[in-house]
C-alpha cells in the first residue's frame, strides 16, 4: 500500500500542507534571482542593465567593477539577444526597472521623466569630456547621461584582396559599387553591410550632405541626394556583389575574418579580433560621399550610463554612476581598451591610451575626429525605426524612395510634434 493511501487528508492536513508550501514558496522567492539580491553591503541594492557585448571578458569586467563598489550591492542583468531596447523600455514601466542602465541619449527618455538629471555629477568634470558627447546628452542645459565609450563605425577591408583586384579605396558611393563588383568572386562577396543594412542608414544620409534633423529639430534627411543614395544602395543590393543573409550580423567581424567578404561595415570595437585573425591585411575607410556635395562619414556609436528617475533610490544610483563612470578612471580605461577598442570619451584617458596611438587604431581615431557624427538626442527610437523602414522598403524590397521617405516624414513629423510642439 502506498504511503498516500494510508494517510487521511482531512481539512487540517490540507491546510497544514498548504501553509507549509506557502512558507517554502516564500523562502524560495527570497532566495531566487529577483535581480535585486546581492552580497553583503550597506543594505542598498541596485540593479544595472547591460546589453551583451560581443567581446570576450566584458561581462566579467562589468561584474568585477560592480563587486568593487562598497556602498551598495549592485547586481547586473546582462541581456543577450538583439532586443535590448524592447526589454529596457518595457521594464522601465514596471517596479522591476533597473536603477541604472546603458543606452543612447534620446529625448523621449527625458520628456517622459524616465532618466534623472546628472548635471551635478558631470558638471565638475565637464571639460574633460569630448564636447560633442556632452552636447549629445544635454536637454535645456541639463545633462542626462554619462558617456562610457565612443564607438566609431566605418568600413574594414582586406588589403590583399584590393591589391589582387587592382582597386583602390573608393571615394564615392558609385566607386564603392564598382569596387565591390571587382572584388566579388565565386567564393567571396565584395561587401557586407549587415543583414538588415540598417547601420548604413545614417552614414549614407551624412555622406549625402544631409542630416537626420537640423538645428531647429526639423526634418533634414529628405533631400534629392539622399533619395539618390537609396537608389544607389538598391543597385548594390541587386548587384550580386553584396553579401546577404550571413550567419552573424555587422557588429561581429566573422564575415570578414572568415573570408566571406572583402569589405565589411563594422565598429572599432572589433578591430582587435580582426587584427588577430588577419594581421596587417586590414585597412579602414569612411562611408564615401554619395554626391559631389557630400562628405565621407563615420558613425560615432557608443553607450552611455543613465539613472532611472523613478528608481527606488535615485541618489544611491547616482552615487554609483559617479563612482564608476566619473571617478574610477582605471575602470573606464579598462572598459574602453582591454576587450575591444573604443575611444574613451574622457580626454585625459584618451590622451594616455597608448593602444590608440599608432597603426590602424590611430587611423580609426583620425577618421573619428575628421568625419565622425555624434548622436542627436532629438533623434528618437521611433524616428530611427522610420528610416530603417525606408531602407527595408526601397533598398531591400525595391519600392520608391520618394514615397517611402514621404511615409517616414509623417511618422517623424508626428514624433517631432509630440516632442517639440
Amino acid at each position: 500500500m502506498s504511503v498516500l493511501g494510508t494517510h487521511h487528508w482531512d481539512r487540517r492536513s490540507v491546510l497544514r500542507a498548504a501553509t507549509g508550501l506557502a512558507a517554502v514558496g516564500g523562502l524560495a522567492a527570497c532566495g531566487g534571482n529577483t535581480g535585486r539580491d546581492g552580497g553583503p553591503g550597506s543594505g542598498k541594492r541596485l540593479v544595472q542593465y547591460f546589453h551583451a557585448y560581443g567581446e570576450a571578458g566584458t561581462e566579467q569586467a562589468i561584474r568585477r567593477y560592480a563587486e568593487a563598489y562598497e556602498e551598495a550591492d549592485v547586481s547586473t542583468q546582462w541581456i543577450t539577444g538583439s532586443n535590448f531596447e524592447s526589454k529596457l523600455f518595457a521594464s522601465l514601466l514596471t517596479d522591476k526597472a533597473p536603477d541604472v542602465f546603458e543606452f543612447h541619449p534620446q529625448i523621449q527618455l527625458v520628456r517622459s521623466g524616465q532618466v534623472a538629471d546628472l548635471t551635478d555629477l558631470v558638471e565638475p568634470v565637464k571639460d574633460d569630456f569630448n564636447p560633442a558627447d556632452i552636447r549629445s546628452h544635454t536637454v535645456d542645459g541639463k545633462i542626462y547621461g554619462v558617456r562610457m565609450i565612443d564607438d566609431p563605425q566605418f568600413f574594414f577591408y582586406r588589403k590583399s584582396m584590393f591589391e589582387k583586384a587592382g582597386v583602390g579605396v573608393p571615394a564615392t558611393l558609385d566607386d564603392l559599387l564598382a569596387t565591390a563588383a571587382e572584388l566579388t568572386t565565386d567564393k567571396v562577396k565584395g561587401i557586407y553591410l549587415g543583414n538588415t543594412l540598417h547601420p548604413v542608414v545614417n552614414p549614407m544620409i551624412w555622406a549625402s550632405g544631409a542630416d537626420t534633423l537640423d538645428e531647429k529639430n526639423e526634418i533634414a534627411y529628405h533631400t534629392d541626394a539622399v533619395v539618390e543614395g537609396f537608389r544607389t544602395l538598391r543597385k548594390l543590393f541587386t548587384s550580386g556583389d553584396l553579401l546577404l543573409d550571413a550567419p552573424t550580423d555587422f557588429w561581429d567581424p566573422s564575415a570578414l575574418n572568415q573570408g566571406l567578404t572583402a569589405i565589411q561595415w563594422c565598429g572599432m570595437w572589433a578591430m582587435p579580433q580582426m587584427q588577430e585573425a588577419l594581421g596587417d591585411d586590414l585597412g579602414i575607410f569612411p562611408f564615401p560621399r554619395v554626391t559631389a556635395t557630400g562628405k565621407p562619414a563615420v558613425t560615432n556609436g557608443g553607450w552611455s550610463m543613465f539613472v532611472n528617475a523613478k528608481g527606488e533610490d535615485v541618489e544611491a544610483a547616482k552615487e554609483y554612476v559617479k563612482w564608476l563612470w566619473i571617478d574610477q578612471k582605471e575602470y573606464q580605461e579598462d572598459w574602453a581598451l582591454s576587450y575591444g577598442f573604443h575611444i574613451p570619451p574622457r580626454t585625459s584617458i584618451a590622451r594616455s591610451a597608448d593602444k590608440l596611438k599608432s597603426g590602424l587604431p590611430a587611423e580609426g581615431v583620425r577618421l573619428f575626429n575628421e568625419f565622425g557624427h555624434f548622436d542627436n538626442i532629438g533623434w528618437t527610437q521611433a524616428m530611427i525605426t522610420a528610416l530603417e523602414d525606408v531602407l527595408a522598403d526601397c533598398v531591400r524590397k525595391g519600392g520608391d524612395p520618394e514615397s517611402a521617405l514621404d511615409k517616414a516624414d509623417r511618422t517623424v513629423g508626428r514624433e517631432l510634434q509630440k516632442l517639440f510642439g
Partner: protein
Amino acid sequence: MSTTTARGAARPAPAKGFPRPRRQLRASSTFNFWLFTGPFLIGLLIFVYVPILWSAWLSFFEARFTVTPSEFIGFENYRVMLTDERFVGSLVTFTVFAALIVPATWALSLALALAVNRLRFMRAFFRSVFFLPTAVSYVAASLVWKMSIFNGVRFGLANTVLGVFGVDDTAWLANPNPPWYWLVIVTVRLWLQAGFYMILFLAALQNIPRELYEAAAIDGARPGWQTFRYITLPQVRATSTAVILLLLVAAYQAFDEFFNLLSKTTWGRPPLVELYYKALGDNQDYGAGSAGALILTLLICLVTLLQGRFMGFGRGEDGR
C-alpha cells in the same frame, strides 16, 4: 411528527469517529475544488482577464511609454490601426501563411498517420520520431533553420546542396524577391507541428471499425485511394475539422519563427509581430497596440465561428 420519528429511526446511527459523513464529504469536496482550481482561477484572472480589460482600457488612451495614461482619445487608436497599411498588410501576410501552412500540415500529418498506422513493426519508434520535434522550442528551431540550413552563404546546408547542381547561393531570408522566406517559414513550422497532429489523426484512424473496410472489400472496393476516399477520409472528418481549427488559430498566433527568421523586415510580418513592433518594440505605443490586439481578437473569433459553421464543427450527429 411520527413520520419524522419513523424516518429518524430508520436512519442508521452514525459510527463513532465518522460524524456526519455526507456533509463532511460535501464540504471537503467543495474545499478541494477551490484548493485545486483556485490558483488557476487566480492566475487566469491576473494573467488573462486583467490584461485583456487593461488592454481594452488602454486602447482608448494616448499611451506612449506608459501603461497608466491620462489622455483619453476615444476611437483614435482604432482609426489609426485600421488605416495603418502595415497592420492591414500583416493580415494579408497571415492569410498567405494560413493558406500555405494549414493544408500543408493537414496533408503531411494525415500522411504520416496513415504511414505509421500501417506499420507492423517499430510503430512506437516512428510515432516517437515524428512526434519529437513538437518538444523543440520554436526559437531554437528557427535559429537552426536560419543559421545552419538556410543561411545565405556558401556553407549553408541548402546552398551547399544546390551548389552541387551549379545553383548560385540564395539569400533565403534577406531578399523578398523572390519570396524564398516562405519556404523557410513553412518548413520549420511543418517540422515542428506535423508530429502533434499526426498523433490526433492516428487516434482517429485507430477508431475506425475494421468491419467497415471488410464490408467495403466484400462490396468490391479497391484498397488504396478508393478506400481512403470513401471510408477513411469521411471517418476522420471530425478530427480533420478540429485539426484545421487548431491550425488556423495557431497560424493567427504565429510569432516566434517570423520574429527570429525575418529580422526587422517590413515584409513577412504576421499580426502579432506587427503588434509587437507597434506596442512593445521600439515604438512603445501601448494604446495603438492594444487597439490592434482587440481588432485581431474580434477577427479571430469571427473567423473561427464562420469556419466552425462552414465545417460543421460542434454539430451533433442529429444535425448531419
